[in-house]
């Protein structure tokens, strides 16, 4: 091995230093600051020197004295379960179907992928048109009149499900595209070999394709978990994540952003979110490391 010249050393140093600064400055720094702020009662006003540390007070308030907190945790978990059983599986099924060289496959792909590229404001608007109690499409189609009309967005027993349909509509297309890309990369020889050995379609998929797709499956699993934890936009557009649509992310935003500026309290909520994400990250890393051995 030859020794590195001065320029090489400089290049390597820069290649390490720049990403480190970026990652530390934009990811680890703010994350650490959030954790620290969560132990204060800072309201966003005044210099950092005047901050009061209040110990675990914010966490205590969040868990015992903040009614939206419990629902938010439940909703995030429900979101994860439903996303996994619904849109994710549906996206995979769609991808498998579209992989079979159907006529007009590209058109179907575009249709299913469309929601992913639409802007958030537009998605909110579209579902507003469908779900509105008084003028919405859905109540018209169901032929409900007067008092029988269903308040899809306002009834806290059903609005989360209404939102899950809307969010799943986007998620399905996303998963479909990812999985389709994975399927295209599978060596056709494997299918031929399976067919020659007399395996049927279903058996081929479950026994041959699925194991080969393992890296893609893990990516999809991780994406589903991430999307569920950071679920935010549609709930926020509808009613700022209140009244049945509480999510951790909307609570953090309500408290930290805007005039409210309960920075300390909001940071405590954000820290809880970080902690939950960490659990999944650790599971994922253990999985990956095991594989490398």
């Amino acid at each position: 091995m030859r020794t590195l010249s001065g320029v090489d050393v400089l290049t390597v140093a820069l290649m390490i230093a720049v990403p480190t600064v970026v990652v530390v400055g934009l990811v680890w720094g703010p994350a650490l600051a959030t954790v620290l702020l969560s132990f204060t009662d800072w309201n966003g006003i005044g210099s950092l020197g005047e901050i009061n540390f209040v110990g675990w007070q914010n966490y205590e308030d969040a868990t015992t004295n903040y009614p939206p907190f419990g629902p938010a945790i439940r909703h995030n978990i429900l979101w994860l379960v439903v996303f996994f059983l619904g849109p994710t599986l549906l996206g995979i099924v769609l991808a498998v179907m579209l992989d079979r060289e159907l006529r007009g496959s590209r058109i179907y792909q575009s249709i299913f992928f469309m929601p992913v590229v639409l802007s958030l404001a537009l998605v909110g608007f579209i579902w507003q048109l469908i779900y509105s109690r008084d003028q919405g499409l859905l109540n018209e189609v169901l032929g409900l009149e007067g008092g029988a009309r269903i308040d899809w967005f306002g009834n806290s027993d059903i609005n989360l499900w209404a939102v899950l349909v809307a969010a799943g509509w986007r998620h399905t297309g996303y998963i479909m595209l990812l999985y389709l890309a994975g399927l295209k990369a599978v060596d056709p020889a494997l299918r031929e070999a399976a067919a020659v050995d007399g395996a049927g379609e279903v058996r081929t998929f479950l026994r041959v394709i699925w194991p080969v797709m393992r890296p893609v499956n893990i990516v999809i699993l991780v994406i589903t978990v991430i999307e569920s934890l950071r679920a935010f936009d549609i709930a926020w557009v509808i009613n700022k994540g209140r009244n049945g649509l509480e999510l951790l992310s909307t609570l953090v935003t309500q408290n930290v952003i805007g005039e409210a500026s309960r920075v300390g309290f909001g940071s405590a909520l954000a820290t809880i979110m970080i902690a939950i994400s960490t659990v999944f990250i650790v599971i994922y890393l253990i999985q990956v490391m095991r594989e490398q051995k």
């Binding site: 703010p30 404001a121 806290s156 509808i238 700022k240 209140r242 805007g258 005039e259 909001g266």
Partner: protein, 434 residues
């Protein structure tokens, strides 16, 4: 994130895209770096002599033009206007004031003004008030005064909250404005038997219900109790507050059902379509009615009396106006501008372009007022006290993170008043610091 009520005309809907928020470097948790973002720092070079900068949150078309017309009438030098999207301005106000704010900027009266005065983030303009004070009523001056007795705010206009209705519908059915709660309930029952929804109601955004709470509280417990309750000095689980929720529960059958999924704009549509008889909301609601015959058909009556000992002379009328930065680059110029903004001529110039509000100044020209403006002016000038609005009269963090979810919880389950008020009180203690 607080009440996205329209400012002047042309309402910003709750769904408005917050483009500017992104441009502002949308503040994360401790986004200290964002502090410098809002300054608009063209304060002029030489020691305090440059153009006065004015931070305007009147960002919708009509109010924006009205502000421009107002500034054109200023003879004291050039004013450089820095218009910021209304909602973004509100959401970033903390960072804005701590960074490099404009010399003069638009804001609201009430606790929301006092809060920043207490933090030392806005400038004392008591000397300006010694010049302009004679033009404003005592109630206006009170709303411009901080907790320390100094003035920090120059009022521009107000818009009252009241019960709105369509004259044509009422004439056709022979309804008359109720003066007491008993008459109000009787009228509501009559409307129901006539196939109308008595009260339009939409609370998807969370803040419109505050208007109902405020009025019931003002009529049952009076203005002083309202002020003390908002300041955190009274208990939310007191019998007084429970009485308010009890009275509200009695009225809920006359409210439009399923209010939590409906925006205030959609609720206004039911009144417009003559499907409902009344709507308790602010005067800005008129913007939902097409200009011309439909809008001229609107009328209102003050929220009825409940307790004769308390009366009905408190009016909820949020005031918008101007404040000065704590350390303006050009203090003399800023105060000179505020002296002008506190004149009747300046307000006339504004309202000539945006006639959807009522001038705060006593000598403002009322000859061009439409019927609603005239009536609003009479209502407010006859009021013994003016409240701002729940979210303007209390801490913003309490209003948005406690009161909005709590009022929505009440509308969902109106029967657990004890549990609800206890929860509000506990959360209040944690926010107000015991």
């Amino acid at each position: 994130m607080m009440s996205p009520r329209p400012f002047g005309t042309g309402g910003v809907s709750a769904m408005a895209i917050r483009r500017r928020t992104l441009l502002k470097g949308a503040l994360g948790a401790g986004a200290l770096a964002g502090l410098a973002g809002c300054g608009g720092g063209d304060g002029g070079g030489g020691g305090g002599g440059g153009a006065v900068t004015f931070g305007s949150n009147w960002s919708d078309e009509v109010p924006k033009n009205a502000i421009a017309a107002m500034m054109d009438g200023y003879g004291g030098g050039k004013v450089s206007i820095n218009t910021i999207d209304h909602n973004s301005f509100q959401e970033n106000i903390n960072n804005y004031l701590q960074g490099g704010p404009d010399d003069v900027f638009g804001w609201f009266a009430g606790y929301r003004m006092q809060f920043f005065a207490e933090q030392g983030l806005v400038g004392d303009i008591t000397d300006v008030w010694s010049d302009i004070g004679s033009g404003f009523s005592d109630a206006m001056k009170q709303q411009a005064t901080g907790a320390d007795g100094k003035q920090y705010f120059v009022p521009l206009y107000y818009y009252p909250w009241a019960v709105f209705y369509r004259k044509s519908v009422w004439e056709q059915r022979g309804y008359t404005p109720p003066a007491t709660m008993d008459e109000f309930v009787a009228l509501s029952k009559k409307m129901q038997s006539d196939g109308l929804v008595p009260l339009s109601f939409g609370d998807s955004d969370g803040w419109p219900a505050m208007g109902t709470f405020d009025y019931l509280n003002l009529r049952i417990n009076g203005y002083d109790f309202h002020v003390e309750l908002m300041a955190g000095e009274r208990a939310w689980n007191s019998q007084e507050v429970k009485n308010v929720f009890d009275a509200w529960r009695e009225l809920l059958p006359y409210h439009q059902p399923d209010a939590l999924g409906r925006t205030w704009q959609q609720a206004a549509q039911t009144l417009l379509r003559k499907e409902s008889g009344m709507y308790l909301i602010g005067m800005f609601m008129g913007q939902q009615f097409p200009e011309g015959a439909e809008r001229d058909d609107l009328d209102f009556f003050p929220f009825p009396e409940i307790d004769p000992a308390i009366g009905a002379d408190a009016v909820e009328a949020p005031i918008d106006g101007f404040m000065m930065a704590a350390r303006p680059r050009n203090e003399e110029g800023a105060k000179e501008l505020l002296r002008y903004l506190g004149t009747a001529e300046a307000e006339d110039a504004y309202l000539a372009v945006d006639p959807n509000n009522v001038a705060a100044h006593d000598d403002a020209d009322t000859s061009n007022y439409n019927a609603l403006q005239k009536k609003s002016q009479e209502l407010v000038s006859g009021a013994k006290s003016i409240s701002q609005f729940l979210d303007r009269d209390t801490r913003p963090d309490f209003a948005s993170t406690v009161m909005i979810p709590s009022l929505q919880a009440f509308l969902r389950d109106p029967d657990d008043i004890d549990g609800l008020t206890k929860s509000i009180e506990e959360q209040k203690a944690s926010i107000f610091g015991g």
